[in-house]
Structure formats: structure tokens, C-alpha cells
């Protein structure tokens, strides 16, 4: 599948703090906004070319509204810290849209499972399903360490039923979001998940148990984001010879059928 992509000098429209360590940045980037599909990502520059931090940072496309693109990101290091200090009208170089996103399943019931910042790519997916599959059920299961940590839930509520779980029990189910999933009674279910690796692995194991198809959105360190450097390899499930041993998150993914990774 050939994806069209470009480098766009985006213009920050707003960059607001949404919880203790996360921000949402809305950027005018008409070209990329127009091409973006759910589950795809962009590579954003945090400095002038050749200056450090050298590499672009991969961030999921959280939302798209007309000519604007929204990124939901957590500040974890130098690059995201620089992003968090950007303000209105600042320019930001964006490369994208990149990667192979979610494929909307033909199942009648869609379950989106997000852990922490992993909720980011699921919003555009939910919107897309609601739009292209009117009447089909959408359930969102969101997990977080605590009540304060949840992100963007309200944006889901008008299109999906949302259930939440917290590690500390400060809101919703006291425990793992996977437990909520296990509790679902459904046959014709498609699961889409993004979050910490252990969580996604747990989700895909459950899906195998229940016979649901499952798509996972992976992360990996990236240099190019477009299949050139081969830096973003992750091992495939099963035994494979030669180059078949690895898949590349930026190009084959970031979204994979769960079986490709865990089986």
C-alpha cells in the first residue's frame, strides 16, 4: 500500500495542557490533515534541521478537523518538552501522514481499548467508525493509573459507550482495563488497542481466547519514519527466516493484526 505523504510547515493554533504531563497541540496543516487516516502518525521536528534534538519525534494523529491536525502527547523528554513550550503561530515541521493505520473491521461491534496516552490514536478511529458505520456499536475501554490521568474521554462519549478502569480505584473499575474487556459478552467483536506493551499483549491474548480479531498499535524508536533506516524493527511471532524475522513499525505498522506480533 503506497501512502501519500509530505513535509508541511504547520502552524500551531493552540497548545494546551490537558493533564499533569500531557498537552494537546492543534496545528494548521491542511495537506496532512486531508490525507490522514486513523492510526497513522506524523514525525515532528523539535529543532532546526541538523540541530539537536536531531531526530523527528513520532506522534499519532489524534484528531483531524478540516485543515487542522491534533496531537495528544505526553512530556517524557527533551523533544516533547520543547513541543510543550511552543505557542500560537509558532511553525512546526511535520512529516506525514505515515504508516499503516487501523482497518475498520466488518464486525458489528467495535471495542477500542486505550491505556494512558495510548488513547491518542483511538479518537480519530472512533469518529471514523461512527461516520462510516452508522448504527454499529462502539465501546471504549480506557485505563489509567488514576482519575486525573484520563485524556480526551469526553470527546468519545457522544459516539461511544465509555468504560474506565484505574489502577488505584480512584474512578471506574479498580484494576486493569483488560479485566473490563474480558467481561464483555460479545461474539461479533473487533478490538483495536493502543497503550503500554504489557496491556496490548494482554488484550491480544484475551482476543485469541474469545476469538475476536484484534489490531494493536505499536511503538518503536524511529529515525526516518518512512521505511528507509530499518531502525524500527520489532520481532514477528513465530519462526521466520532472513528478513522475515522482523516487521517495521513505521511502514508495516504502527497498526498490526495482533497475531503478527503475539501468538
Amino acid at each position: 500500500m503506497v501512502v501519500l505523504q509530505c513535509i508541511e510547515e504547520g502552524r500551531v493554533q493552540q497548545n494546551v495542557q490537558v493533564n499533569a504531563d500531557s498537552f494537546e497541540m492543534i496545528i494548521q496543516a491542511p495537506k496532512i490533515a486531508q490525507m490522514a487516516a486513523p492510526g497513522q502518525f506524523v514525525m515532528v521536528s523539535c529543532a532546526e534541521p541538523g540541530r539537536s534534538p536531531l531526530l523527528r519525534r513520532p506522534l499519532s494523529i489524534h484528531d483531524v478537523n478540516g485543515k487542522t491536525l491534533s496531537l495528544l502527547y505526553r512530556v517524557v523528554g527533551q523533544g516533547t518538552d520543547i513541543l510543550s513550550h511552543m505557542g500560537e503561530k509558532d511553525r512546526i515541521s511535520i512529516l506525514g501522514p505515515l504508516g499503516h493505520g487501523f482497518t475498520i473491521s466488518n464486525a458489528g461491534h467495535h471495542c477500542l481499548v486505550g491505556g494512558g496516552i495510548g488513547i491518542a490514536p483511538l479518537l480519530l478511529l472512533a469518529k471514523n467508525i461512527a461516520q462510516t458505520r452508522p448504527g454499529e456499536a462502539i465501546t471504549v475501554l480506557a485505563g489509567a493509573r488514576n482519575k486525573q490521568e484520563f485524556l480526551a474521554l469526553d470527546k468519545f462519549r457522544d459516539r461511544a459507550t465509555v468504560h474506565i478502569a484505574t489502577d488505584d480505584g480512584s474512578a471506574g473499575h479498580h484494576g486493569f482495563v483488560t479485566e473490563l474487556l474480558d467481561g464483555l459478552v460479545a461474539t461479533d467483536l473487533a478490538v483495536y488497542t493502543c497503550g503500554p506493551t504489557p496491556m496490548m499483549k494482554g488484550v491480544s491474548m484475551l482476543c485469541q481466547k474469545h476469538g475476536w480479531d484484534c489490531q494493536v498499535s505499536l511503538e518503536s524508536h524511529m529515525a526516518c519514519g518512512m521505511g528507509a533506516c530499518l531502525g524500527c524493527a520489532v520481532e514477528r511471532s513465530g519462526i521466520h527466516e532472513g528478513v522475515g524475522k522482523y516487521v517495521h513499525v513505521c511502514k508495516d505498522g504502527p497498526v498490526f493484526d495482533a497475531e503478527v506480533i503475539w501468538a
Binding site: I7, P49, R56, H221, L230, H240, G242, V243, Y246
Partner: protein
């Protein structure tokens, strides 16, 4: 554009001195939205070996101050698959194609040269005798003049195409290696490959690369690369191709002034996939503006 940017490496003549560095530009196709490969001096494709290589386990890359470490492990589908699946695509790109080859033995290098010989789509061969990532192979050839010379002869004996030997910077005296491969018939040398480096995650006390060590590239290594290009250009008569941290027109000019006939753009492709094409335009504009030719520039360092 009214200015002659062409350069010659052996019998191969390039439109201009701007090339892409092996392993940083895939096989060109990924970059088609950003660069018309036909506009570049050449594209040097990802290293090819006799047999497929899965590459190293992840993590394979880590950012460092002003650079990055990679331990891709020379992942590639092997020469047969390259010929079957990539050559047709490369033909359509209309680009001058230099194929980077690597091996575990002299025979591997010879075999690769032989396999590529009949292909008109392959305009030149770059021999990687220096990749720091694999425990076996690579390194040894690039660090001993005699070994480097033997690889060079083996490749030359099996091809009529221009042969560029890509030198390792992880040596005491790079000029000795350069002279040895020139003596052995190399049509040109390209330098530098990556410096061997390492990074550690303090919390887990594990190396940040699964391979423990990796190759350092990017602006951080530019001063070392420029020094080596200058030293090598002083002693060899064959063309020298400068590589290492080149991201801007100013960087390109520094390498040309130091004595490089051409340059390769590596890590910078990741930050700006359009950079190679932009540098061709930038260099053209510079020469026009300063009414000087490439020859005026190359090796014009005033000391």
C-alpha cells in the same frame, strides 16, 4: 542551469556531486514523494549481501547529542531478492545507482561483484569494508591495509563497473588504508562510515542498543569526517567522496573545499527527506552566485 556540476568517478560520470549514503535512503522509492532521484548525482542503495540477513534485534537506534547510534545489523534480502524485486523499480527511478555491497569473506565480495556485473541498472559498486555493526565480517577488512587491498582486487577482478571503497574511520591511519585500496585499483574512496559508539540506559543498566555497540552518525561526527577527508585527499589521486554529518549547503562546501569530489548525505535524509534534492539546487545557486566552478572549489582550502 548554466553551470556544470558533473563529476567523474572512474568511468562513471555523475550529474552532480550530491549522493545519498547507503542505508539512509532505502532503495530510493520511499523518497519519491520528496526527491526526484534522477536529479541526484547518484543514489547509493542499502548494503547488499550474498544471503539474506535478518539484522539485529531491537532496539536498533538511539539518539545521542548531535547524532544517533544505529545497529541495524546490515538487514537486507540478499542479492537475488535485490535483483528480482528492486532492480526493476530502480530502473523506473531513472537514477544513477551505486550498489553498496558487504560480505564475510573475500569470496562474498567477489561473488556479489560477479552477480551485479551484467546489470545495466547498476552504474557503480561501493564496497563496505567497514560496517561496525556485525561482529563477523566488515570491520577486519577495513582496518588492515592488506585486507582492504585484497577485497578491492577481488571486486575489481569481477566487475567492469567503477568501484568505490568505503573506508572505516575506526582506524589509526586512514590514509594507509586509502593508499592501499588505490594501489589495488579502486576508482574512488568514500568516507567516513560510522564511528563505533555506545549508550547505556542507567535505570535498567542495559545497553540502549540490543547489539551493545553501534555506529555513530550525524552532525556530531562531522569534524572527524572532514579531517579524514582532508587527510585522504592529500595523499590519493582517485576521487574522494565525503560522508559524515552533512546536512546543509555549508557542510557540502566544507567537504568540497577539503578536497572531496563528491559527498553523500546520510542521517540528514531522516530529518529532511527532501534535503538531497535541495542541496543540488543550493550548490547550483552557490556556484552561479559566486561565478565559480566545482574545480575552483574542490580542494581549495587555503592553509
Amino acid at each position: 542551469m548554466g553551470v556544470d556540476l558533473s563529476v567523474k568517478i572512474g568511468t562513471l560520470s555523475l550529474k552532480n556531486p550530491i549522493m545519498t549514503a547507503s542505508g539512509t535512503f532505502g532503495y530510493g522509492e520511499e523518497f519519491s514523494p520528496f526527491v526526484d532521484c534522477a536529479d541526484l548525482g547518484a543514489i547509493v542503495v542499502k548494503g547488499i549481501s550474498v544471503h539474506p540477513r535478518p539484522g539485529n534485534p531491537p532496539p536498533r537506534i538511539v539518539e545521542t547529542e548531535g547524532g544517533m547510534l544505529n545497529a541495524i545489523g546490515l538487514q537486507n534480502g540478499g542479492v537475488d531478492r535485490f535483483i528480482a524485486s528492486k532492480i526493476p523499480m530502480l530502473r523506473d527511478l531513472n537514477a544513477t545507482v551505486i550498489v553498496n555491497i558487504l560480505g564475510d569473506s573475500i569470496d562474498d565480495y567477489a561473488a556479489l561483484a560477479r552477480r551485479l556485473e551484467p546489470l545495466p541498472e547498476v552504474h557503480g559498486i561501493e564496497v563496505n569494508i567497514s560496517c561496525p555493526n556485525v561482529k563477523k565480517g566488515g570491520v577486519a577488512f577495513g582496518t588492515v591495509p592488506e585486507m582492504a587491498a585484497r577485497v578491492t582486487s577481488a571486486v575489481k577482478e569481477n566487475t567492469s563497473k567503477p568501484v568505490i571503497i568505503k573506508l572505516s574511520p575506526n582506524v589509526t591511519d586512514i590514509t594507509a588504508i586509502a593508499l592501499a585500496v588505490e594501489e589495488a585499483g579502486a576508482d574512488g574512496v568514500s568516507l567516513i562510515n560510522t564511528l563505533i559508539g555506545m549508550a547505556i540506559d542507567v535505570q535498567s543498566r542495559r545497553p540502549k542498543l540490543a547489539n551493545i555497540i553501534g555506529g555513530l552518525s550525524g552532525p556530531a561526527i562531522k569534524p572527524v569526517a572532514l579531517r579524514m577527508v582532508y587527510q585522504v585527499a592529500q595523499v590519493v589521486k582517485i576521487p574522494v567522496i565525503g560522508i559524515g554529518g552533512i546536512s546543509s549547503l555549508n557542510d557540502v562546501l566544507e567537504f568540497l573545499i577539503a578536497g572531496a569530489t563528491g559527498v553523500q548525505i546520510g542521517t540528514a535524509n531522516f530529518i529532511n527527506p527532501a534535503v538531497s534534492g535541495e542541496l543540488v539546487e543550493g550548490l547550483t545557486a552557490y556556484l552561479l552566485k559566486h561565478e565559480c566552478s566545482l574545480d575552483d572549489l574542490v580542494g581549495s582550502l587555503r592553509t
